[in-house]
Amino acid sequence: MTFILISGRTIPQGSFVEHKLSKGYQRATSTLFIHSLDLYELGIESGDRVNVTSSFGSVVLTTETTEDIQTGCVYIALGPYANAITGGYTHATGMPDYKDIIVEIEPTEDPVPTVWDLMEMVGGVRYGN
């Protein structure tokens, strides 16, 4: 199913800013807020995982139901998960399209990657545990 993805700040994401490798941050930034009707259309429940794909990449996220957003739109806290599907084209403005990203969403059993996983996918090397 096609959706418009918006990213933005949330308190949980902000409160873990000094602990980006923690489970709390992972949870805060890999949760996809989606309308209950859309969950129904997808045939899944709140808490199930989905694969979200844009023209720049794809990432597995955990859904969470909300009534606060319009159907057809999904919301995620800004962070490495949102950026896994964000492109670097800025229309010569310097600002990439962090919001209003067109994505395809389908249910999946795949696990949600950790932040270290995401960094290693682009060539990084994790530190410590």
Binding site: I6, G8, T10, E18, F56, G88, H91, D100, R126
Partner: protein, 430 residues
């Protein structure tokens, strides 16, 4: 022991009424902080010593080795990029700008992916604004457009707008109205007097419609604009024109959506228009506690607020070309120094892919996503907690950050100065 009136080093609100309780040089409690501030003051995890990558593995090194390697990386580079800056104080930012000028580097800050479009709009049409105390004392109408202060700037409403006592406002609960414009029903929207739920990308149209109404040209506005009823827009235009003092605050919902700086420009022009009828101001909700500080420093030193290229021996500014995302997307920089920010977590995938492929150094107290992308990380004192210096609030008011704990960690200013010295030594050695 208690230290009062401590400015908080988290967000652009720069609340300076925090009380910090200390025992044996450790923070045991804070008062007046929001969740985000709490997290900053009470945070415990950090990197204890510099680290370097050798043969694909991380090893501990001394500060001297780390600085040496950093100086070597920057000296050898043809197109070095110095990025970040928003989480540190002005005195360190100054060293960064001097360094960039000296080695002919590119320099940019988190502004580029945050309020860069606001600055572009201001450079086109100007900025009718004010300090936050003006809003607190006078505003009887507050508009939050494309931002969610409850989550991003938690004490904004209680210190400066909706819930703040004002000299000219007898009863904040009844005398002050709030309008929220957002694509979703955020917590802010839930307490608004008027909530405009706009379709994603529709802000520009709504702003144009409001401008038409303010000019008395209601007839050109269709019955529905970007998912919003004309009737609601008329109510809002009316509220705006009847206000004695309206304050608009806008955030990333406006700068990042389709239209980007055009959205902000339209909002500024609406406010300039409203000034012909009543008093209105507009302000950007700056994210980091000192992101504006970097804009100020770079401007008085080089002439431009962000995205400056010193490689030609002059200050060259061309956002869209010299801004960090575009540079990384074009794979131009061949070395990168990141200070006080975390691009690993906040940049689009393709750009951090390039960052991972070039020699990158990070100066930051904590292990973060960027750690994985760099070759060297140098931990430093936490600004605003372990080191003092100047920060600029979202409205341009400069406040001095305090040092409340003694620390063994060097400050980022010291590290930057040592890097500069080392580079000069390397250059004179030939």
């Amino acid at each position: 022991m208690e230290i009062r009136d401590v400015p908080c080093p988290f967000c652009g609100c720069l609340c300076d009424d925090i009380s910090v309780r200390l025992e044996d040089n450790r923070i045991t409690g804070v008062e007046n902080c929001c969740t985000l501030g709490n997290a900053k003051f009470l945070s415990k995890s950090r990197l204890q010593h510099p680290i370097m990558r050798k043969d694909g593995k991380w090893i501990e090194v001394t500060y001297e080795e780390a600085i040496d390697e950093t100086a070597r990386i920057l000296s050898d580079a043809m197109r070095p990029l110095l990025y970040g800056w928003s989480g540190t104080i002005g005195e360190a930012q100054v060293v960064g700008v001097h360094l960039a000028e000296e080695i002919g580097a590119l320099i940019d800050s988190t502004t580029s992916v945050c309020h860069n479009p606001s600055i572009l709009a201001i450079q086109e049409v100007g900025h009718p604004g004010c300090t936050l105390g003006q809003v607190k004392n006078r505003a009887d109408l507050v508009v939050y457009w494309g931002c969610n202060p409850i989550e991003a700037h938690p004490r904004h409403m209680s210190r400066y707008t909706t819930y703040a006592d004002g000299y000219f406002i007898d009863n904040t609960a009844t005398d002050r109205k709030v309008i929220v414009v957002d694509i979703r029903r955020s917590d802010g929207a839930k307490i608004a007097d008027e909530f405009i739920q706009v379709k994603p990308g529709g802000d520009y149209l709504i702003l144009s419609a409001l401008r038409a109404m303010v000019r008395g040209k209601d007839e050109v506005v269709p019955d529905s604009v970007a998912g919003v009823e004309k009737v609601q827009l008329q109510r809002v235009a009316d509220l705006m024109m009847k206000a004695k003092f309206g304050a608009v605050f806008f955030g990333l919902g406006v700068t990042m959506s389709r239209g980007k700086y055009k959205n902000v420009r339209n909002a500024i022009e609406l406010v300039s228009e409203l000034n012909r009828k009543t008093k209105f101001t507009i302000s950007a909700m700056r994210g980091h506690f000192n992101v504006y500080g970097f804009n100020e420093v770079l401007t008085w030193m080089a002439g431009y607020p962000f995205a400056v290229d010193f490689s030609r021996g002059i200050a060259f500014y061309n956002p869209g070309e010299t801004s960090v995302i575009d540079l990384l997307e074009r794979k131009e920089p061949d070395a990168c120094l990141v200070v006080a920010s975390d691009p690993g977590a906040h940049f689009p995938k393709s750009t951090i892919e390039h960052m991972a492929s070039i020699p990158t150094v990070q100066i930051d107290p904590c292990v973060n996503a960027t750690t994985a992308l760099c070759q060297v990380q140098i931990p430093v004192a936490i600004t605003g907690v372990e080191s003092a210096g100047t920060a600029y609030r979202m409205d341009g008011v400069p406040i001095r950050m305090k040092k409340v704990i003694e620390t063994e960690f060097p400050t980022d200013q010291e590290i930057l100065e040592r890097i500069v010295t080392r580079i000069r030594e390397m250059r004179s050695d030939g």
